[in-house]
């Protein structure tokens, strides 16, 4: 008899090997899977998972079992009344089928298109017949159809199917070799997307049910529920239609490809499908065996391509899809099958065990946990985790700048060691990108979002005033929190209000030149300098025409810079009134007497304008003989040269301050040079000044600049007259002490600066003055020439060159001296 044209004859009633159940279609890939399974090395052994309880059962009192349970003889067939699961499964099958059918009919399910034959079937399903869904069970020998849910394993098969369908649209039979070849061919093209899809869904782990996904399963199988799967596994009845992974598919699970990689994923996904995803049973109106029609429809190419198992299986082993088939097998085949079945069961069990905890946490949960962990990392690293370069610079200034200057080794731009969290984040990003072929956008976004979250968290933590202690009601004391950065305070002393501190003011009034206030000024200068340097870094880009905002920004920036400049200028105390004959030096000169004051000059000169520079130069020139490097440079009688500290100060001054002054003088207008020379003559003790390296250096600077201006023809006649007047005064003053401007004895070393000075004087001097000059230094020239002959060649020639500097300036040469 036939229901709705279905072949309802039971398998055992069929005749001939060709007759088989609808779901006895051979698994085209089982052979491949079996071949791979030979190399199977499971981690979990059956013996390990089996607890052995069965062995403890007392077997000695089984005699009356037959009486109790009515089992008479081996021939007596056992009823199936107890098979509750089978019935349930049947219903659930029907439910699943209904869902598939529903979604197929749903116009929104876009992927239904290739299954047109599905719809025409529906009208023939007679609503007239009352259907209970239990028709099958009217036959007492019926064993429920526990068919494979290929949707469980469907990922790669789904990919392979359209290709196969295209190749074999008709029901043309193909040999296994042909199928394999095709799979290999398409496997190369489809495997990667499949793997990607798998990976993405692995990571994504959004357990959103995807109803429109299900109809596209090749067989149109309903989604599988975990309990159903479990039940199947318990029965040792396994889905036999496990697709073999395409050849291009990487082995992601280490073991040989017995188990398709998609399987665990879909188990997990299905495990999380909410039950309401299934339509209620009352909704169904199609036959529960609706799917039984499908093998005859062209959407099942995979199964139809494959010839009946008896003919094609290369090892003569048919594929078992139904337990009843076991009956027809030889003993050997059955054993082989059972062994294989056990293997599969083992593996499925293992996967089940592994996936038991899957989906317990939502992505939000994981996010949350990760955030907590990162925040702790940030806290442990001392809050330097923000990428704000300003903050990093503030915390790690020395290292950052030193690395920039000296190019200290670092692995990547964000490397500062305290930069814990970010390093961590970066590395994680890299690792994900590397291992997972860097192909998922969502994970990247994830990390970015996380990074931003961390940053926000850190900023919030910084902004929030830290509650350093907690007073819990009823407790006897306060609970202080501490961490590495802010240790628990042992004492809690309140700072006195600053209002009651007029003391510092008074102090600064006291004197401008005591050591403390000078050093305070110095620090003021440095902090202003650093602020200005910071300002320079943050200079907004030059505004464009019409961009009011940018112009505004720029103006504000300039305003700030200007105020900082004013602060710097005030701290320098250059404009303090000059008190003649005062015992205490001018604050600025006192400032210059400290090494760090001298060192500050080059930095200061970069940040001040020309007017301020000339002021500083004037200040120095006016106080030339009270500068420490001039005042102390006179060797104590009996000593060949000044003390070591003074010599160091002189060297430092020459290195730090002189180049700045020279840089300015080289561009200074002539009248300023004249004025400066006048100041030297009028305000300072020229004889003393001339006996020092620094003093001579400044004089040389002025004289040579005047000479250059003259040579360039930039000097007006009037200016030049003024200059000559001043020069004559200077020359007359110097002439008497010309011999004393040389440092110590002739053997005491460096006297080059003296010869430079003499050369500068010689160039500008009149012929008559030159003559007087030669007479004044003639002895020294002769001495040096004589002395240089006793020196090693290179040192001697150096000394001679120095002398020659002067000799050439007045049109002579040491060679002439013979």
């Amino acid at each position: 008899m036939a229901f709705f044209g279905f072949d309802t004859t039971l398998p055992r009633d069929r005749d001939g090997p060709g007759a088989k159940g609808f779901f006895e279609n051979p698994d085209p890939f089982a052979d491949i899977a079996r071949a791979n399974a030979l190399g199977d090395d499971d981690v979990i052994d059956f013996e390990d998972t089996y607890d052995g309880l069965g062995d403890q059962l007392p077997d000695d009192q089984d005699e009356f079992n037959d009486d109790t349970f009515g089992g008479a003889g081996p021939d007596k067939s056992v009823g199936r009344d107890f098979d509750f699961f089978g019935k349930t499964a049947q219903v659930s099958d029907a439910i699943g089928e209904e869902q598939v059918r529903f979604s197929l009919q749903n116009p929104n399910a876009g992927r239904v298109a290739p299954q047109p034959a599905q719809v025409p079937v529906q009208p023939t399903a007679p609503q007239t017949t009352k259907r209970s869904g239990y028709e099958k069970y009217s036959d007492p020998g019926y064993i429920p159809d526990l068919q494979a849910k290929s949707s469980v394993w469907g990922v790669s098969q789904k990919k392979a199917e359209p290709a196969a369908a295209a190749a074999a649209p008709s029901r043309k039979m193909m040999s296994l070799e042909e199928v394999e070849a095709q799979m290999r061919y398409h496997g190369h093209t489809t495997a990667t997307p499949a793997a990607e899809a798998f990976l993405r869904s692995m990571v994504d782990q959004s357990w959103v049910p995807q109803p429109q996904h299900l109809p596209t399963r090749p067989d149109g199988f309903p989604p599988v529920h975990l309990d159903l799967l479990q039940a199947q596994m318990k029965q040792g009845h396994l889905p036999p239609q496990m697709p073999h992974p395409p050849p291009g598919m990487p082995e992601l699970y280490g073991g040989p490809g017995h188990m398709p990689p998609g399987a665990p994923l879909h188990m997990m996904q299905n495990a999380n499908l909410p039950p309401q995803n299934m339509p209620p049973p009352g909704l169904r109106h199609g036959p529960p065996q609706a799917q039984a029609q499908r093998p005859q429809q062209p959407q099942q190419p995979l199964q139809h391509q494959v010839p009946p198992p008896n003919r094609t299986s290369n090892n003569g082993m048919p594929v078992i899809t139904n337990p009843q088939q076991l009956m027809h097998l030889t003993e050997e085949q059955r054993n082989t099958y059972l062994v294989e079945d056990a293997k599969r069961a083992k593996r499925n069990h293992k996967i089940f065990l592994l996936s038991r905890g899957n989906g317990l946490m939502t992505p939000q949960d994981k996010n949350f946990i990760t955030r907590i962990q990162l925040q702790q990392l940030v806290a442990a690293a001392g809050n330097v985790a923000d990428s704000d370069p300003e903050a990093v610079l503030a915390e790690d200034f020395y290292y950052q700048v030193y690395s920039q200057i000296r190019g200290a080794p670092r692995q990547h731009p964000h490397q500062p060691l305290g930069h814990f969290a970010q390093t961590y984040l970066l590395q994680t990003g890299n690792r994900l990108g590397g291992h997972r072929r860097g192909n998922f956008q969502s994970a990247d976004n994830h990390m970015q979002r996380m990074q931003q979250q961390v940053q926000r968290a850190v900023e919030a933590a910084k902004a929030k005033p830290k509650n350093k202690q907690l007073i819990i009601e009823g407790s006897l004391g306060k609970i202080s929190f501490s961490n590495a950065k802010a240790p628990k305070p042992m004492l809690n002393i309140k700072r006195p209000d600053s209002s009651e501190g007029p003391k510092p003011k008074k102090q600064s009034d006291l004197s401008l030149s005591d050591r403390k206030s000078i050093l305070t000024n110095l620090e003021g200068v440095y902090s202003a300098l650093m602020a200005m340097e910071d300002m320079e870094r943050t200079m907004p880009p030059p505004p464009e025409e019409g961009d009011a905002e940018a112009i505004q920004e720029h103006m504000e920036w300039r305003q700030k810079l200007h105020s900082l400049n004013q602060k710097l200028w005030r701290s320098l105390k250059v404009m303090e009134p000059i008190v003649p004959n005062s015992t205490t030096p001018h604050p600025f000169i006192a400032f210059l007497s400290y090494p760090k004051g001298k060192k500050a000059i080059p930095r200061i000169f970069r940040h001040i304008d020309q007017e301020q520079r000339v002021t500083i130069l004037t200040m120095i020139v006016v106080h030339l003989d009270s500068l420490d490097v001039v005042r102390l440079a006179q060797p104590v009688p009996g000593e060949a040269q000044p003390s070591l500290a003074v010599r160091e100060a002189i060297d430092l001054f020459s290195l730090a301050v002189m180049p700045c002054l020279l840089g300015y003088v080289n561009e200074a207008p002539f009248n300023i040079i004249i004025g400066l020379l006048g100041l030297v003559i009028n305000q300072t003790h020229v004889q003393t000044v001339a006996r020092t390296k620094v003093g001579l250096g400044i004089l040389t600077m002025l004289l040579s600049r005047a000479e250059i201006v003259k040579e360039a023809g930039q000097a007006s006649e009037h200016d030049w007259q003024q200059w000559v007047e001043k020069f004559n005064v200077l020359f007359d003053t110097l002439e008497l002490g010309l011999n004393e401007i040389f440092p110590g004895s002739i053997s005491s070393g460096d006297d080059m600066y003296v010869w430079q000075f003499l050369a500068a004087v010689g160039i500008g001097a009149s012929p008559e003055q030159q003559q007087r000059l030669v007479i004044a230094v003639k002895d020294r020239v002769m001495e040096t020439v004589g002395y240089s002959k006793t020196l090693p060649a290179d040192m001697g020639s150096q000394r001679l060159n120095n002398v020659n500097l002067f000799m050439r300036a007045i049109g002579l040469d040491v060679e002439l001296l013979g």
Binding site: E395, D396, F397, Y398, Y399
Partner: protein, 98 residues
Amino acid sequence: MLFFSFFKTLTNQTVTIELKNDIRIRGILKSVDQYLNIKLDDIEVLDLAKYPHLSSVKNMFIRGSVVRYVMLPRSEVDVGLLEDATRREAANQAGKAR
């Protein structure tokens, strides 16, 4: 963080560390952390005769709290920069105290 920042620049330099128990160890500074714990490589204990038990030690991790002095190579210290860094640190501290 100044000292941490400073010592970080000295990694892979040879330094001599004197501990509070007077042991002096010369070695290559491998790393420093925020507690100024120090990792030394290729160490050499000065006055080894007094501390024979250290003769076979090749590298060590020194807890920051037991360090008395760290002797640095002068050429590796940028004094001017260090001065500025110190000023910044002081300013930071003052800013925090307020």
